[in-house]
């Protein structure tokens, strides 16, 4: 899908590409270069297909969160409460499942409900009372983190049988896998969360690209005032962007919960920053109006790949993760900034 919208055409005519498509192409190219580079130079792990699917398994929640984050950023806002929400959801669901009569469906409903509640309040404050989204979601983050410890202070694992069964469900990918030491073929697998994440990516991509509502998000992010004059309901559009973002954070919270299988106040710490970083690496601009969901997915994968590379290169001291992540972000930002500046110059001349 990504090829169709970007890379193929891009080399022929970079100048005519929209900002969104140009940045998207860069992200995808860099991701593949990086991964292929890792395969060549580090070999081993990266040659196994399961390594890639493990990245997917680990990052599915982050991909979902980042989709929501990209949407809000495209609309010109930001939501830093998503990490806190994920923690609150995993803790609440864990407590619910631990109670007598706590059902799987109930916990899922609870996750969605928490997401929607956050979206409702934050969206209303941002869109209709015109309060800065940074402040609103900052408060949202504080609230979610605080509430998590109020719900339950100590972290604990969930023992609910049906949940554990769901958590451990592995979907084998036919025909893909590797041969282990004993010479047996081991099928590569993904967790359920990955399917959910891919569904979210596809739905969000379709919404943003092929619906009128989707284009409205871009318009509002590009120029709020103009969007209003063009007859778009700016407030409603902003509200919806926060609503959807929080809803996705709700789903992501549950996917995260399924992945880790426990509740803890320190879960998903820094997830909001990772989501923002993924979106940016994926070509979304914080100024609004530019971005693409496919890019966001690749942004998340790029970040995770870099971390894998660092670990397999033997640099496993704690600080390396922070520093490489930052270096990666820095690199992308500078590349984007330089390219955009060049483009502007080209347009003038």
């Amino acid at each position: 899908m990504e090829k169709k919208i970007g890379t193929k055409k891009s080399f022929l005519n970079i100048k005519d590409m929209t900002d969104t498509n140009l940045l998207l192409s860069i992200t995808i190219i860099v991701f593949f270069l990086m991964y292929i580079g890792a395969m060549i130079f580090l070999g081993e792990g990266f040659l196994k297909s399961q390594t890639f699917f493990n990245i997917l398994n680990d990052q599915s929640a982050l991909i979902i969160v980042s989709c929501g984050m990209s949407l809000v950023m495209i609309t010109g806002g930001i939501d830093i409460s998503v990490g806190g929400m994920a923690a609150l959801i995993s803790m609440s669901c864990a407590v619910l499942l631990d109670m007598k009569g706590g059902s799987l469906v109930g916990s899922m409903g609870l996750a969605i409900l928490i997401g929607l509640a956050f979206g409702l309040v934050q969206g209303y404050l941002v869109a209709f009372l015109d309060i800065q989204p940074f402040i609103v979601s900052l408060a949202g983050m504080f609230f979610a983190r605080g509430m998590t410890t109020i719900v339950n202070t100590a972290p604990f694992n969930v023992a609910n049988e049906s949940f554990v069964a769901l958590k451990n469900t592995r979907l084998n990918i036919p025909g893909v896998g590797s041969v282990n030491k004993n010479g047996d073929f081991v099928n590569a697998y993904v967790e359920i969360g990955v399917i959910v994440a891919l569904l979210v990516v596809i739905v969000m991509f379709v919404v943003l690209r092929w619906t009128k509502l989707g284009r409205n998000f871009y318009a509002v992010g590009g120029n709020k005032q103009s969007a209003l004059m063009l007859g778009i309901n700016v407030k409603l559009t902003k509200f919806l962007s926060h609503m959807i973002c929080s809803f996705l954070a709700g789903i992501a919270g549950y996917v995260y919960f399924m992945h880790v299988g426990s509740g803890s106040a320190s879960h998903a710490s820094g997830a909001e920053m990772n989501a923002i970083a993924s979106s940016i690496i994926g070509g979304t601009m914080l100024t609004g109006g530019v971005g693409n969901i496919i890019g966001t997915m690749f942004g998340t994968l790029s970040l995770a790949t870099i971390q894998n590379i660092v670990t397999s290169a033997g640099l496993d001291e704690a600080w390396w993760t922070g520093i490489t992540n930052a270096a990666m972000l820095c690199l992308f930002l500078v590349i984007q900034s330089v390219i955009m500046a060049q483009r502007k110059k080209a347009q003038v001349g």
């Binding site: 009372l129 015109d130 940074f134 408060a139 609230f143 923002i276 922070g322």
Partner: protein, 359 residues
């Protein structure tokens, strides 16, 4: 938000309500009123010997003034950065970890348990200032010259900062046993008021003097409102943005000194955690637009004290430190909602209606 009403007919009270500094003052009064009703002993100040035998003041008010110091100092720099660049620096907490780490590294030398100071504190502080200003300049260059949005640009240092801090000391936790470092974070013998209070006040006075005797205020606001036009008026917007980030770097170094002074050691992942959020909140509570442009420094400073006031009040109410943030969030949202222009307009209309009915 920055509506300075010029109508002379308006009463002093009305002017107050419209002025920017009204929000933090109102918040201060509300909190005070609440504490007066709940438990007036909140305002009691005692004098007595501390752990090292000095006669010092103690009480919640002193705690507030003391603990707010770092926040006040950061709020100064954050206000300038916000005004000039229309964004916020979210790396200040991580940068404090770096500055603190540098101070300890210089003081302890290569031996993390050395009993003697390897260098005078002033030297360590100056080196920390230089380092923090360099990191500030790094942020500033990304923002000003590469035109990256501040929050995103500083996300880099936010991600890497604490790792860098750990790396400076080889991931060891140096402890300074010499008591003179603790003077900066606690008390100087013979003076009953905590030193950070003085440091904060000195910083506020300095920035006020700078704003009065230089054109920093006009330049930052002008650049924040209209960069192109500022350039055509002979300003160098890039340089001014960079300058604000460097100033914030200096603030970070001072805050770092206070932080390590308090504990004589450092914990890289915990030191000044989440302080960036509080500093941004201080700016916002001061009624300054986070989108840049006009600012009111005193309002930001008051905003910082309000936040600490709130924190201390909640502690007093036996809210656990983990759950604290939930309550803080509710109060913050209430304050922001009440100060939102749309809400204020509606309230004003409502007030008018009620008056009409009476008449």
């Amino acid at each position: 938000m920055s509506k300075t009403s010029v109508n002379t007919n308006e009463s002093f009270f009305k002017k107050m309500i419209h002025s920017q500094i009204f929000i933090p003052i109102a918040a201060l009064l509300l909190l005070t009123l609440f504490n007066l009703i709940w438990d007036p002993s909140f305002f009691k100040i005692n004098i007595g010997p501390d752990a090292s035998g000095n006669q010092v003041l103690s009480g919640y008010i002193i705690t507030i003034l003391d603990n707010a110091s770092e926040l006040v100092i950061l709020a100064i720099g954050m206000t300038l950065v916000t005004a000039a660049s229309g964004g916020q620096d979210i790396s200040v907490g991580a940068a404090i970890a770096i500055a603190g780490s540098v101070i300890l590294r210089v003081l302890c030398g290569s031996d993390s348990r050395s009993t003697e100071l390897q260098a005078p504190i002033i030297v360590a502080f100056i080196i920390a200032c230089v380092v923090a200003m360099l990191f500030g300049a790094f942020n500033g260059v990304l923002v000003a010259y590469f035109k990256i949005q501040p929050m995103v640009a500083t996300l880099i240092l936010f991600t890497a900062g604490r790792s860098i801090a750990a790396w400076i000391n080889n991931n060891e936790l140096p402890i300074v046993t010499d008591v003179s470092l603790s003077y900066y974070g606690n008390f100087i013998p013979g003076i009953p008021i905590p030193t950070p209070v003085f440091i904060a006040i000195i910083c506020v006075i300095i920035i006020m003097l700078v704003l009065k005797f230089t054109t920093l205020g006009l330049y930052t606001q002008s650049v924040g409102i209209n960069e192109k036009s500022s350039r055509l008026n002979g300003l160098n917007p890039e340089l001014i943005k960079l300058l604000t980030f460097v100033i914030l770097g200096l603030c970070v170094a001072v805050a770092g000194l206070i932080k390590v002074g308090r504990f004589s050691t450092i914990n890289y992942s915990v030191i000044a955690k989440d302080i960036e959020m509080d500093a941004i909140l201080a700016v916002a509570l001061g009624g300054n637009a986070l989108g840049g442009g006009k600012f009111n420094m005193m309002a930001s400073v008051l905003g910082a004290y309000v936040i600490q006031y709130l924190t201390t009040t909640l502690y007093k109410l036996k809210v656990s430190s983990d759950a604290l943030s939930a309550y803080k969030a509710i109060v913050v949202i209430l304050l922001v909602v009440l100060s939102a222009p749309i809400v204020r307009e509606k309230l004003a209309k409502l007030g008018k209606k009620l008056k009409k009915k009476e008449a």
